[in-house]
């Protein structure tokens, strides 16, 4: 734990289990928290922060720029590029920005010093200062940009030091999920009692174990006919830290972009969740 600030990742293997619902309502219950939406491919938390002051800045990643006056078309840059992002012809060098990982090999190994770097726009970093309660920081990947992790890393660098952070993560168990979870003090895995939900929860627990991030489970949509997730968690000695019933009322409120925390019926569940999460982090 870094001082008093703690970082909670809200994640799930399966999409649509209620990550954003839990993250936004937990942030409201937490007060003073910064909510960071790292699902930069499909950010949704902003829908719950419509009345705040927004500041946007553009994010870039480095891609090669060839100086044709210095280049002698030797092909060394293409040879050292593991991502096939450069092709050298007799009197032409082609750079494929989408394939570039920005590793800098071409710049480093060009014998003529003909490769420098230029900025390639990858999306926006947005901060929303709300009138009361939590603030939001999020990334919005440019559509057609393939790699989300460079933007995610830049968003993470904007996180205020010393502030408690609730991260809304992308779904899945691949590199983007890892990038959003890896520096957290606790990962809350949101699942649902369906065969899909349970299957993907198992994959997620495997991933957080490898990352050595302590994990607890939040079961959304309880009451659905399906596998007994609570029993599975008990068997694996994973704590179930909260749950929310499968009710049309919740789905309808969420569909209109309403914060579930604001409904008196469900508010206590999130206040209890915030307290349970604090305790869990303290005891870890």
């Amino acid at each position: 734990m870094r001082g008093v600030s703690i970082r909670i990742a809200i994640a799930s293997g399966k999409g649509g289990t209620g990550k954003t619902l839990v993250a936004t309502s937990l942030a409201a219950a937490w007060r003073e928290a910064l909510i960071v939406d790292l699902d930069v491919e499909e950010p949704n938390c902003y829908l719950f922060f419509q009345d705040g002051d927004t500041t946007t800045k553009k994010a870039f990643r480095p891609v090669p720029l060839i100086d044709t006056d210095k280049c002698n078309y030797c092909g060394r840059c293409a040879e050292v590029c593991e991502y096939h992002a450069i092709a050298v012809f007799q009197k032409q060098v082609m750079v494929f920005d989408e394939l570039c990982h920005g590793c800098g090999a071409c710049t480093l190994f060009c014998p003529k010093g003909a490769v420098s770097e230029k900025d390639h726009y990858i999306g926006d970093i947005v901060r929303v200062q709300s009138k009361g309660g939590a603030d939001l920081l999020y990334g919005r990947l440019k559509v057609r940009e393939a790699s989300a992790t460079p933007l995610m890393r830049q968003v993470k660098r904007e996180i205020d030091v010393g502030r408690s952070v609730i991260v809304d993560c992308p779904p899945g168990t691949a590199c983007t999920a890892v990038e959003s979870i890896r520096d957290s003090d606790l990962c809350v895995l949101v699942t649902e009692p369906t065969p899909f939900g349970l299957h993907d929860l198992k994959l997620s627990l495997e991933m957080t174990k490898r990352l050595k991030v302590p994990s607890v489970v939040f079961i959304n949509k309880t009451g659905l006919r399906g596998p007994d997730v609570a029993r599975f968690c008990a068997g694996k000695k994973v704590r179930v830290i909260g749950e929310l019933p499968y009710e049309r009322e919740i789905a309808e409120a969420y569909s209109k972009g309403k914060l579930i925390f604001n409904s008196p019926k469900y508010r206590p569940a999130f206040e209890a969740l915030a307290e349970a999460v604090r305790q869990e982090v303290r005891s870890a």
């Binding site: 593991e82 989300a148 899945g172 691949a174 590199c175 999920a177 490898r210 969420y254 209109k256």
Partner: protein, 297 residues
């Protein structure tokens, strides 16, 4: 051969449930599950694996301990912060964090002691299987692995080869959520993108971005509203949004407990008698076939 891919941007809108139902209706399709880091189609189709293999995604830097002089020259050159100096002030050691390595090979090239080698990294496993609805190609990415886009491309390619071999005219692809590299990999070369959306504010936001991606890659797309009756107003908003983007709203599937129950039993709703959802799905599938121009047989 017609390649029909199901995508959504947002997760949990019902891609897999819908695709499994399409699989039950299609008579001549090869199926591919391209949600390689959280695959679910196999839970409904219960495949019998016929063929499998390891998938090498990229290279990974490997430190040959005895050769390393801990000079640290490679450390600042790694753009992915994957090489760190660990230990105390007196005993410094260079260590590679394999989770962060992207396999660029810069460290290996600059190391004057040849202490870093680049090794193949197995990032997952692929399978060709038999199901009650025909051949299915699927995969499982190692938890936390990179290069899911490459594995997606591999699965799709394998499915196409199977279709060719078996004389099937349709490849039906279940896609991942999001709009990043795996989704791009699914879209590339597809004949029709079936975009599944749910009638929520998030659903509208996410549909807008996947629709823009499909247009960016010049793949014709259609919209299917799932559980449309949850919020009829939002259904109309998203359908209008689709029309403005040149995407045809092709169908509406109502909320139906029969779908949830079928899933709990590990089946598709099409195998559980007829109801309001099954009728809508059948109509939608016929419309998809018509729009895609796929040969029916």
């Amino acid at each position: 051969m017609t390649e029909i891919v199901v995508l959504s941007g947002k997760g949990g809108t019902g891609k897999t449930t819908l695709l499994a139902s399409f699989a039950a209706l299609a008579k001549n399709a090869v199926l591919a599950d391209c949600d390689v880091d959280a695959p679910n189609l196999h839970l409904l189709l219960k495949p019998h694996v016929r063929e499998k293999g390891k998938f090498v995604g990229s290279k990974i830097a490997h430190l040959v301990g005895p050769l390393c002089k801990n000079c640290g020259e490679c450390v600042p050159l790694c753009r992915f912060d994957a090489i760190k100096v660990i230990g105390s002030q007196h005993v410094k050691k260079v260590a590679i964090d394999e989770r962060l390595c992207e396999g660029c090979g810069v460290c290996s090239r600059v190391c004057r002691y040849k202490a870093i080698t680049m090794e193949d990294r197995v990032v997952g496993e692929w399978f060709v299987s038999d199901t009650r609805f025909g051949t299915m190609v699927h995969a499982l990415l190692e938890p936390g692995a990179e290069n899911s886009g490459k594995l997606v491309a591999f699965v799709k390619q394998k499915a196409k080869l199977e279709a060719k071999r078996l004389g099937r005219s349709i490849v039906l692809v279940d896609g991942p959520p999001g709009i990043g590299c795996p989704a791009i990999s699914v879209l590339s070369g597809a004949n029709l993108a079936v975009l599944v959306a749910e009638p929520t504010q998030s659903g509208s936001s996410d549909f807008g971005r996947i629709a823009e991606l499909a247009r960016g890659f010049a793949v014709p797309a259609v919209l299917i509203m799932n559980r449309y009756d949850l919020n009829l107003n939002m259904t109309e908003v998203i359908e209008l949004q689709a029309k403005e983007a040149g995407i045809v709203p092709l169908g509406r599937i109502p909320h139906d407990e029969a779908v949830v129950n079928a899933m709990a039993d590990g089946r598709t709703v099409m195998e559980c008698g007829s109801g309001k959802a099954t009728e809508a799905i059948e109509q939608t599938w016929n419309a998809v076939l018509r729009v895609s121009g796929a040969a029916v047989g």
